[in-house]
């Protein structure tokens, strides 16, 4: 994984080059399960981002005391308690969201992206870049969840921002109705796989075009 220490590189890596969902294909279980609407995707994405940032912070800050033989149980302990705290905060301040995301908030513990960043990055880098890495990876994951959520909601429901009130409070919001009815398959599990496949294929197509383009410029300059 190319982590060249500077914030721009970290951000690019998290958002695009090493995006946990698109490239590393980590955390697919929540990614596929909760992205039935934009708001669901966004909320779980934000929760995951928060966990990633905090866990990288804690792991990096305590990297001196981490005993390498038992580092994985130590990561698990840190991440599990963090997630439990975040779940309690969600229950207290966003009860509707907690009800909607259900088991997937506690299951952030099992998101391999979190352990992977602790192992690959936070345990060998200072605090500041580690936090940046966690947040960038989390943001990349959140944006992907949001995009897939928006895509499936639009296709399956014909709405956008359905139940936005779960994040910001207020009266139940039924979403902007953009189409009548929808294509049910998009909301079912196969729809999640198709959407992810489209996203991955799209990213690869863009990358290969960019490489092609750079290659062409290089040839011209010869």
């Amino acid at each position: 994984m190319s982590a060249d220490g500077n914030t721009g590189g970290i951000l690019a890596s998290g958002l695009w080059d090493d995006n946990p969902g698109l490239v590393q294909l980590l955390g697919l279980c929540p990614l596929l399960a909760v992205t039935t609407s934009l708001v669901n995707g966004l909320s779980l994405g934000l929760a995951t981002m928060l966990v990633l940032g905090c866990s990288n912070l804690l792991v990096s800050a305590s990297r001196r005391w981490i005993v390498s033989e038992i580092r994985i149980p130590m990561y698990v302990l840190i991440i599990a308690s963090l997630v439990t705290c975040i779940e309690l905060v969600f229950k207290a301040y966003f009860p509707a969201l907690d009800a909607s995301l259900g088991i997937f908030i506690p299951l952030i513990v099992t998101n391999c992206a979190v352990t992977a960043r602790a192992e690959v990055f936070a345990s060998r880098n200072p605090v500041a870049p580690s936090v940046a890495d966690g947040l960038a990876m989390g943001l990349g994951f959140a944006l992907l969840l949001m995009a897939i959520g928006a895509f499936r909601e639009l296709l399956g429901h014909g709405t956008m921002f359905y139940r936005l009130d779960m994040l910001f409070g207020g009266d139940p919001f039924t979403g902007l109705v953009l189409a009548d009815g929808g294509f049910l398959l998009a909301l079912l599990p196969p729809g999640a796989f198709f959407s992810l496949a489209i996203a991955v294929a799209g990213k690869n197509a863009l990358d290969s075009r960019r490489r092609h383009h750079i290659g062409a410029i290089a040839r011209q300059s010869l």
């Binding site: 308690s81 439990t84 309690l88 207290a92």
Partner: protein, 220 residues
């Protein structure tokens, strides 16, 4: 950290100690968060319960606090499922008005469906709401009141209207609309409401007269 293999003895102790200290710190962190959020979470749950009872008691006037008149009917009972069934009773000037049953219907398409079934003293349904379920998104979850008004058709129904024999979905020759693609789900809901009505008919006096103290023994 690069220790020789012979250093295993003290290494194990060191690992264990490190883990123990970390576990203590983490537990402390969770305990503090719990302390800070517990009251708010309990308040949220109470508020959510009150909010969810409201639509099942539409058009009913009562003067007690529904959530404070809990009765728990322990199994075995003739209600759907095998779990204890909480019942919230409402009164007006101490006269029984209606009761809301928290039914766990085991026969959903994907596990149990938890329903609130409100029944007036006369035996008419005052409203039905889904508390939780794991039905298929886009099909079975259309029973939710926030998605369709399918549950509205049960309001003001009773064992007399429609007649007992027509308490089924249309596909099975009954009087109730089904949701296409969700026959199992809708069938389960109709059956659960019917069974609750039958139970209510046979136990009405017990339900309203049973002392509220019974609830304190139950840990619902």
């Amino acid at each position: 950290m690069g220790r020789s293999p012979e250093g295993d003895g003290p290494g194990v102790w060191r690992s264990g100690l490190t883990l123990a200290v970390l576990a203590a710190i983490c537990t402390g962190l969770v305990a503090i968060t719990w302390q800070l959020t517990a009251a708010r979470i309990a308040g949220n749950e109470q508020a959510a319960l009150e909010r969810s009872l409201e639509p099942t008691l539409s058009g009913v006037f009562y003067d007690n606090v529904a959530t404070e008149s809990l009765l728990v009917i322990p199994p075995p009972h003739d209600l759907p499922g095998t779990e204890p069934v909480p019942v919230y009773r409402v009164y007006s000037e101490s006269e029984p008005v209606a009761a809301v049953f928290v039914i766990t219907e085991p026969g959903g398409y994907a596990g149990a469906i938890r329903l609130l079934v409100g029944i007036e003293y006369s035996g008419e349904v005052t409203g039905v709401r889904v508390l939780s379920h794991r039905e298929t998104p886009g099909l079975g979850d259309l029973i939710e009141a926030s998605k369709t008004n399918w549950l509205e058709q049960f309001r003001n129904t009773s064992l007399a209207a429609p007649p007992r024999t027509e308490w089924a979905i249309r596909r099975d020759g009954g009087a109730f609309d089904q949701i296409t693609g969700a026959s199992v789900t809708t069938r389960a809901v109709v059956r659960a409401i019917r069974q609750t009505l039958v139970y209510f008919e046979g136990h009405r006096d017990f339900i309203f007269e049973a002392a509220g103290e019974e609830t304190t023994e139950q840990d619902e």
